[in-house]
Symmetry: C2
Subunit: 502 residues, 2 copies
């Protein structure tokens, strides 16, 4: 992509000033329209070191309304970030809908650095690119506009600019050298890095997230080209968004979206809910497995393996009680329970997967999600909190999301706690009459109960579509609480033991 | 405080189990009441290393509803945090109103480590304690309930438990050793640390944030004492909150709250608004000062001095245009503009200073606040978004807040851009008739304008009460935009030069 670019283009300062003023007015107007339409924009700056990025970015952001953008200079990942999957630090910086998120260096620089500095293999690079493509496509599907700019200069120019470097480069604090150094000074070996840069640009130049190569020998030309690129992209997005649904053409025509077939047989109906355990066996087993877990917790930590548990299930199926027994003997410094309820304001203004980033455990730590991203294909589907197209798309998104987690070494275990309608009714009634548990039961629980059949269809579909070779659902027969708790404990112990042996 | 404690108390396991169950029910109930009343709780755990903290904490949090608390194990500060004022990393973790924020190690451990490991002087310890007292008192004043627990064991017990340590201690990842090690394994030299620990406990045992010493030789006793301490404290808070205002006694009787005297003379009225500058001088000066600023930016970075600029002023006084000229030549990787508007949901559910923590610059960086914490004593006062008692208290809180910033080496410069009512009217009208600027003027601007006299009183009072020897207000005559912009540029250049010479 870079070879065919003519990088000799120049623009006089007078011409620049005239255009810059006009473009500034247009950009301001577009920014306000995008805000009203809640169109989020992600603008990525990449390019050769000494390509003049900092100056171009400053000239660009001066044309924006500061209330409408976030600016991120991506320095090297900090300790916390290094211990999480590659893409999580970028996910968590995605802007709210309506805003522009500007990335000064991004997931691309990081992938290049990882490969060249840590000598990663072709295969590992492929994994990063896959994560990047998942990330960008999921955002594009959710209405995010992705603009990616690469500032390109010739080898000769690159060499010359390096002479002056000391003056323009940002100094580094010695004691934090590794972390403080922005991901901006890495592409210094032009020829050596060229093949990899070329390859990455080509592999990630997608219809929904295209690259624009900006000829950056001349500052004025570069700035104006950045501005026009952004202007055209936002204009197109606004036009697209203001069309009637019938007129809309999909930015990214996704033929892969899984069709939802009529299910011939229900997974849930085959579950044998009669399974039971007596008190003695329960007590004995609980003690054994809790002790094993306590030991495995430290082993996971030593081996830097994160563990993610997802608890889903019918209301009153016993999620809370199960989690309680699971963490009873653990070290609170290494585990975390993340209860998932309705999203707040800020969460609603993001992609639905965004709010789970914060809870993703560091290497060696454990997160227990009490409900999770599966809300998308259950409550959000049934209550129409998202469109049909959105929840249908979510199966693939969730599978990709979990793939990213396991690729980073996480052990992911997900449970569906299953009970029948009678058991739920008994438990609802007993809660209602117990003053200490009455708060646990709300109108919402009764409403959900009345939609049991709808949930059953959604759950069956979910179990089928998101049981991958990567992460299987474990269905837990939970009419008997003792049986349920021991099955959860045993499943976790066995899965960890198996994974640690791999 | 520690010497007189009898640490031999024990409780049998049977007794423990009986009580624990009862306390759990009470705690759950109190937690829900506190949530309804929006009472936030901060629970601090400190104590000797090997005092059994992790286990006690786990037993305690298992008695809580996971939706109602945040748990923070305070490891060593990361790179970002080290470059910010001491207390900021704790401020940013304060829970929303209604929740319990649990700190496993806290600002106390950190102060002790800083002093003992980095050999800080008595005077420097004093500064930390001052920051801590400001922090805790400001939270208590805002309705936060502070519970501080110190787990105490005897020297003999301490020595014995150390023998077993390898087994219970959390291993550390070699490559991140410094950051990964929790602030929990520091108090290993019992006798050496005792005098400092004693001193800090005494100096921070405040009526609004008292210490509770928990005898921790016996696990059962310790857990139950923690539970009863928390139960009593929350009960008291709930009782206090549900009294009628007349019945309420102030938890912390603050005789220092500054009275608001009738002002005899207005600072604003004395400002000479006729000051002007012609275009030639403006262009020449702008070029000189912008160049100086660009150089000073790198000098600030090299010397690790953060710079904070606060822009306040009448609507249409020219804040945006001033900020534009200020950053025009700067490196966007080292500065940030933080526009301050109405708080969002999450911000509203916190102390009003909380939302500014995120924008506090790292050492060597610059943040420009376009409006700021001064909203508390202007718009929030005038529109009654806070109570009279709250805005009156805010003067001192703001002064303390800025003192913490300057103590950490920040240069703080605050501007009041002053114009007269006629100039404002002219600018409003011209904006209204300019299609490119029309969006800048809203009904709110006109409403604020109609309350000019109220604002004048509030601003005069603010300028008087928050001009400290530490940070002075700079009043900028802004009827003439050129004069205003140059005065801002010049003031910043001169202040930085003066500060860097110190």
């Amino acid at each position: 992509m870079l070879e065919k670019i003519d990088i000799s283009k120049t623009i006089t300062t007078a011409e620049y000033k005239k255009n810059q003023k006009a473009f500034k007015a247009i950009l301001g107007e577009l920014q306000r329209k995008a805000w009203d339409l809640k169109i989020p924009v992600i603008l990525v700056f990449e390019g050769w070191h000494v390509s003049g990025m900092a100056e171009d970015i400053n000239r660009f952001i001066l044309s924006l309304d500061p209330r409408g953008y976030d600016f991120h200079t991506m320095t090297r990942p900090c300790y916390e970030e290094l211990l999480k999957p590659f893409i999580v630090r970028y996910w968590s910086r995605v802007p709210v809908k309506g805003k522009i998120g500007i990335f000064d260096r991004s997931w691309y620089s990081r992938a290049i650095i990882e490969c060249l500095e840590k000598n990663k293999s072709e295969e590992e690079l492929g994994k990063y690119l896959e994560e990047i493509n998942y990330f960008e496509r999921q955002l594009a599907d959710d209405g995010y506009l992705l603009i990616k700019v690469f500032l390109h200069i010739s080898e000769k120019e690159h060499k010359e600019r390096f002479k002056d470097l000391k003056k323009i480069d940002i100094p580094i604090f010695d004691e934090y050298e590794d972390e403080a150094r922005p991901d901006l000074d890495f592409i210094h070996k032009y020829n050596e890095y060229m093949p990899l840069v070329e390859k990455i640009l080509e592999k990630t130049d997608m219809p929904y997230a295209p690259w624009t190569i900006v000829e950056a020998n001349d500052r004025n030309f570069a700035t104006l080209k950045i501005m026009t690129t952004v202007i055209h992209a936002i204009e197109d997005s606004i036009e697209q968004a203001t069309r009637t649904p019938a007129e809309q053409t999909l930015k990214y025509l996704d033929t892969e979206t899984p069709e939802v077939p009529q299910l011939n047989n229900s997974i849930l109906e085959k579950v044998e809910l009669s399974k039971k355990m007596d008190t003695d066996e329960y007590k004995k087993s609980k003690k054994i497995y809790q002790q094993k877990l306590a030991d495995l917790q430290y082993e996971l930590f030593e081996k830097k393996r994160p563990l993610i548990l997802v608890f889903e299930g019918w209301d009153a199926a016993g999620k809370g009680g199960n989690i309680y027994r699971f963490v009873e003997n653990l070290n609170p410094r290494l585990y975390r329970v993340v209860p998932v309820g309705s999203p707040n304001d800020i969460e609603k203004a993001h992609h639905y997967l965004w709010r789970f980033c914060e809870g993703i455990p560091r290497a060696g730590h454990i997160t227990i999600f009490d409900r999770s991203w599966y809300g998308r294909v259950m409550v959000e589907r049934i209550e129409s909190f998202c469109s049909e197209e959105e929840w249908k798309r979510a199966y693939r998104e969730i599978n990709e999301f979990e793939e990213i987690l396991t690729q980073a070494g996480s052990i992911v275990i997900k449970f569906w706690l299953h009970i029948d309608q009678e058991t739920q009714l008994e438990r609802f009634n007993s809660r209602q009459h117990d003053p200490e548990k009455k708060w646990k039961i709300t109108d919402e629980d009764w409403r959900n109960r009345s939609r049991w059949e709808d949930y059953k269809i959604a759950v069956d579909e979910m179990l089928q579509k998101t049981s991958t070779t990567n992460v299987q659902w474990i269905i837990v027969e939970s009419n008997d609480k003792r049986y349920s708790r021991i099955k959860v404990l045993r499943s976790v112990v066995e899965t960890i033991e198996k994974e640690l042996k791999k």
